[in-house]
Symmetry: C2
Subunit: 418 residues, 2 copies
């Protein structure tokens, strides 16, 4: 099959017809930079910057302590949670914003194990984002259980996770979209498999919330966690979120039973009594600055249609894959990208010199990131990436490879975060 | 003994000679408001507001993901921690900023219990800030231990905490300054008593860090936690901190073993291996916005001499106590204030109508807070409270009482946060 080569004009034409193009001006991006790392840290929504200024000057500076009531800071975790719920197929009162993804994983895994007292095994993916596994290790340590309660499912050895689930499985904890390869797991099929074995299902949505439609309720998911600073654009280290299906909420005994999850935090009772519903999953005082910023970013995202967003996401990654093949053949790249139906909003390429090539790209103002050992990762946030950006990024990549511009000592030097 | 009555002029004279007076202009406070609630939410340091604008526009907006290295966001928890260390008598590398006080309590209590495997009891104060007790309950729940592993020391029944400590005590967990009464516990004596019994000592510094000199190292304290949003002025819900004495740091097995506490977070290893030193107590990605704000606020506080600060704190609370006695005798107030040597930077009064009186005071622009059941709490943050503010606050209180201005239905209405 001969396909017509892609040109910059063709991509510019797609931008002209892009229903999401209007979102571009809602984000502050540095002139001349092509930002393909929104899957690591989302760009700055102008509205979030403005909201933060109001928060600092008016609500904190002027309102001071009164703002907990006056500006309903106290209701922020639930209010922002309800906004996220709309993006991930959950109902009002099923999501709350709190803490970090890691801390929320700990809470929900402990809660899930307590709901399955006769079972000891947590199934997770060997290639999961590492913190997910680390948190399971820590939890087992506190509980005094052995580390072999973790069963690592290795996708490379068995395509079907069902092989790893049995009637000793308490909970299956997977990340919906793999952080390296971008592979989407089948949420419905795996959730069903967990339930058929009597286990509970927990999904980590770090690389899917805000990147594609997610249907937690429709898939019957029990628990989920996710990140506020990637596709949700909540700012560096933005608070994370957690989801508990409504029917399970009042059966949970929170392990991190802080005062914000108490049924009456300002009664200052000596003994803990959990709030009803999702609120019992709160722990300490919420970081209002960071949470307000996320809340404002969510308002921007909620204006977009998630199906439209998914279509553009795939159009961008398809174009990237095609252009790398068309322009950079024989330059040593291999794509890890799954077929579009199973592809998240990112594409990873492997290359023998992935690290210095990525550093050179960044120096030439195309920002992606490196993942060990040899992966160059490119994320496509459909709200602020244009189709022509893909052309320009690949053109710069090609230039860097052809001129060996990457092969300078400064690009081999490792930073703390790489 | 006849003492000369205090006048506004006397207090104005103290302001004229106040070496900390220059800090007033470093904070943004609303015109005409007397803010006596810095023990609940510190005022806005101008430098923090400015730092936040730079962070958002330049570091996030322009630097994007590169700022983790370029602006060393990744080193923030330790950098801000080292600043707090100087305020609480700890060494460099002994403090890290992370999560909330509640979450940090959970981490350190679990770590302490693991270091005392043969012992089961946690001693805490019955009148401790509630979240401290709630967190112990939650931890025991995860560990599968009974709630009677908590031993509540009741100060009203036994002045000496030593009566509650025995050789089954694993850890003594107390708050240095009581949130209601403002009573300071004797850190050195209690720490020694815990150690003599073979137990570990954990102090909650929420109401002492930034309010008075604290000497963790000199008192041989094992663990401490504290809050960033009270006297440290880090902003609403600012991240908290934790301290681990250097000699214990590498013996800790973190229960919340997230990737930021890993020895090589960006190696993305499957298995957890803790970083050496204080860093292993980190968990998820830090909330950079909130943390940078706290970091800038700390720079302001570090310019002040802590002994100077303590002297002014006591001068302010002494004046408040004296003036309430002088101006508001027979108006139904009783002071809970301990003698100055054991008094934190706050004074609590009880009153039969404490709630509506406090609401009326707030409406008349004197901001303190109410604590159940009948406490009016006034905090004195020496960096931005003037001596004449004390006069003016008491004058307004007197006026409200004499005119019964508090006895209106609107002041009886309860908010979510009270």
């Amino acid at each position: 099959m001969t396909t017509k080569p892609l040109t910059r004009d063709i991509l510019a034409g797609r931008d002209a017809g892009d229903p999401l193009a209007r979102f571009g001006e809602r984000f502050e991006l540095p002139e001349g930079v092509i930002y393909l790392d929104g899957n690591s840290l989302g760009a700055l929504p102008r509205a979030a910057g403005e909201r933060l200024q109001t928060l600092v000057a008016d609500e904190w500076g002027h309102g001071l302590i009164r703002s907990w009531n006056l500006h309903d800071w106290i209701g922020l975790p639930q209010r922002a949670g309800d906004k996220i719920a709309r993006l991930i197929g959950a109902g009002p009162g099923e999501v709350v914003v709190a803490d970090s993804t890691s801390v929320n994983l700990f809470k929900l895994l402990a809660s899930a194990l307590a709901l399955r007292p006769g079972r000891s095994i947590i199934v997770t993916e060997a290639d999961n984002f590492p913190t997910d596994g680390y948190i399971i290790e820590g939890l087992l340590g506190v509980m005094g259980r052995p580390l072999d309660c973790i069963r690592y499912w290795d996708l490379a050895e068995a395509q079907d996770v069902i092989t790893a689930i049995d009637d000793d499985t308490a909970v299956v904890a997977l990340t919906h979209v793999n952080y390296k390869s971008g592979l989407i797991h089948d949420m419905e099929a795996i959730t069903n498999a967990a339930h058929e074995a009597g286990a509970l299902m927990l999904w980590d949505l770090c690389h899917s919330a805000g990147a594609m439609p997610v249907e937690l309720n429709a898939c019957g998911v029990d628990f989920a966690v996710g990140c506020g600073y990637k596709y949700l654009n909540g700012g560096p280290g933005a608070p994370a979120f957690l989801y508990v299906a409504e029917h399970l909420q009042n059966d949970i005994t929170p392990p991190l039973s802080g005062w914000m999850g108490h049924s009456a935090p300002f009664a200052f009772d000596r003994d803990y009594s959990p709030a009803s519903g999702i609120t019992r999953n709160l722990c300490g005082t919420p970081p209002v600055l960071s949470m307000v910023c996320l809340d404002a970013a969510l308002d921007v995202m909620l204006e977009a249609d998630m199906d439209e967003l998914r279509r553009k996401s795939l159009a961008l990654s398809d174009a990237f894959i095609d252009l790398v093949e068309q322009e950079c053949a024989d330059l040593g790249f291999e794509s890890l990208a799954p077929p579009s139906a199973q592809r998240g909003s990112q594409v990873s390429l492997t290359h023998q010199h992935a690290y210095p090539v990525m550093q050179a790209l960044i120096a030439h103002r195309v920002i992606g990131d490196f993942r060990t050992p040899n992966i160059m990762r490119f994320g496509f946030a459909p709200l602020y990436i244009r189709h022509v950006d893909i052309w320009d990024a690949v053109a710069i990549l090609k230039e860097i490879m052809q001129t060996r511009a990457w092969d300078k000592p400064k690009y081999h030097k490792r930073g703390k975060v790489t």
